[in-house]
Symmetry: C2
Subunit: 406 residues, 2 copies
Amino acid sequence: MALIVQKYGGTSVANTERIKTVAERAVSTAMKGNQVIIVVSAMAGETDKLIKLAHEITDMPDEREMDLLLSSGERITSALTAIAIQKLGYKSMSFTGRQVGIITDSSHTKAMIEHIEAGRLKTALDEGKIPVIAGFQGINEFSDVTTLGRGGSDTTAVAIAAALKADLCEIYTDVEGVYTTDPRIVKEARKLNKISYDEMLEMASLGAKVLHGRSVEFAKKYNVPLVVRSSFNEAPGTLVTKEDGDMEKIVVSGVAADKNQARITIMGVPDKPGIAGGIFNEIAGANIVVDMIVQNVSSDTKATDMSFTVSKSDSKKAFKIAKNVSDRLGAKGVNMNTEVAKVSIVGVGMVSHFGVAAKMFETLAKEGINIMMISTSEIKISCVIDVSHAGKAIKVLHDVFELAKH
Amino acid sequence: MALIVQKYGGTSVANTERIKTVAERAVSTAMKGNQVIIVVSAMAGETDKLIKLAHEITDMPDEREMDLLLSSGERITSALTAIAIQKLGYKSMSFTGRQVGIITDSSHTKAMIEHIEAGRLKTALDEGKIPVIAGFQGINEFSDVTTLGRGGSDTTAVAIAAALKADLCEIYTDVEGVYTTDPRIVKEARKLNKISYDEMLEMASLGAKVLHGRSVEFAKKYNVPLVVRSSFNEAPGTLVTKEDGDMEKIVVSGVAADKNQARITIMGVPDKPGIAGGIFNEIAGANIVVDMIVQNVSSDTKATDMSFTVSKSDSKKAFKIAKNVSDRLGAKGVNMNTEVAKVSIVGVGMVSHFGVAAKMFETLAKEGINIMMISTSEIKISCVIDVSHAGKAIKVLHDVFELAKH
């Protein structure tokens, strides 16, 4: 008897017909002799609807209130899914983040899970129930509702799988798995059967929306085998797992574009030690994750330009902080560009192959695509370009690295 | 400095524009030197939308799951209202039923409040915040979400007012107060400046939807002064308070019709002692409130017909129980009529005046309206009639008891 955690995303629970399908899959998995735990997202469109309501009132709603507001969507789905499973004659029970005992820190809208008290969940499993957990949420020490940020339901699923030492965590979505690149942009995109945690991590951080980075980190840390697959059919999906020998033969496994980025530049920053630390400390203090950072050498040796990228949703707040810092340091000013995309290639084999970066830069140059920022890791190279070139960049890189071939 | 609890119903928070208006009224009340607590309902239509989703899955959804589902609506409004108050520069904070500490029994979908641990609420008031409470909900001993049934947000408001010994509890709705009858049906209907708890209790139980019976009981028990008024203007509303000398001069203060009733008749029940107790024990065990009960004398002395009314929402469940009981007792069968209305007249003066009942029956008879069931209390007379006659009955009774006159 295996313990399987199944997470269903927003499109998989978009209406009651689809929720019934989810219930059928859950029950059919249980009927094969498995223990099953379901984690659900908000019905597609619900979270955006709630955000829109808050923004009708103010541009910058309080984050504690946003968490209470947004946690409602998953609660609704969990109750409806439990009802649908019961309708099939199987025992089921909904769980809120609090009822599972998902205890987080107090970073509202992007809380980190501190621990999980899964006692009541285990009891429900022992009683032969299929627990249905409202994803994306927990509570902090004050018993206030917190949410785990974008992709939070993936994180919930993996954290539950880790806490209960589940045999498998299945992430159900509206695509059949992880592709070499976005199949809506490049029709030659190929579904991967297997990918390493690290590659998936880079892909996720690049806006391959199929799986959120934090959930992959969690899965890697606790060695939880993940499967990404479609809730609309029976295709086997992509297994995300530890690296193995096979994988290293492939230099580049995927190409991705992230359009949810904004570039902020602080111009004419006095060129003294400790300045960069000061700026990014302040931004981190506001719970904003900075992605790429580039400091340009300036012709003026006493001052330098500092550029960084943040997600579009954090950009207003980050810009405000950058402006304050700039004023205080006597920098020349701050500008922001939200019309950018980050295009990246990823592959565990990259570390032992030369010339991958050069090939990427040349390919983009040949297409007349200007590179604004570059950052590299052992298994990834990212370039920030104008958002209007993102689609073309993906296509040519997918082609030049021969990703359509097996 | 007074402590004022303000409760806003669904139409008062139907969209973000109205929520902003609610925030303005709350802040303006606070600016006059009062401490203010807000209790909110779900945005108009939200609860019905959620019920519809559950019923797309099954006719009889589990009640624990329904509570989790339905409690979401009020949570959404409380977060949005807190955000709107903050936007006006005033401190505010949302509270779920759990965060207030509203502890109820486990009768899901119609839980009773057992006690309120208002510690955190008091702290928020001391910190100069306007707390915004999600109405309608609490938690039981297992930390499961419960809801308080129809009109539950009124109950939340009055219970909070009682627990914190508030000076006033204002119930904001889309009408200007309590009327002698429904002004949409009888244009001569007159707004009452004052009404006793007992009269309001009868009016509420009769479907004068302006205030729920349980909240009035609570208010009477703890002597909480209630004001029913409109959130759309500054009209003073109706004060619901203890009886005083003035009130007793008026024989009939109001006429009401309740169309949310179903009549169930068990035919040919063996006429033995203890049968009635058995039937209604079983119905009570399913947490169904029975309103009127009439046992008809039968020409057949060994059997009798037993009729009772329940709310339409309970009717399917009650019918099923009645059917089982009927089969077990060897009764002749069960029928149900959901096309009925209960028409009632209410007044504290009624107890000391003769002939009120006779006048009511005569008036209905003159209009050719058949009376199916009758029940009376010291301050109320109710008749069950065909729903198609409800409007006419209200009009002629309002007229014959001269309710339009001061």
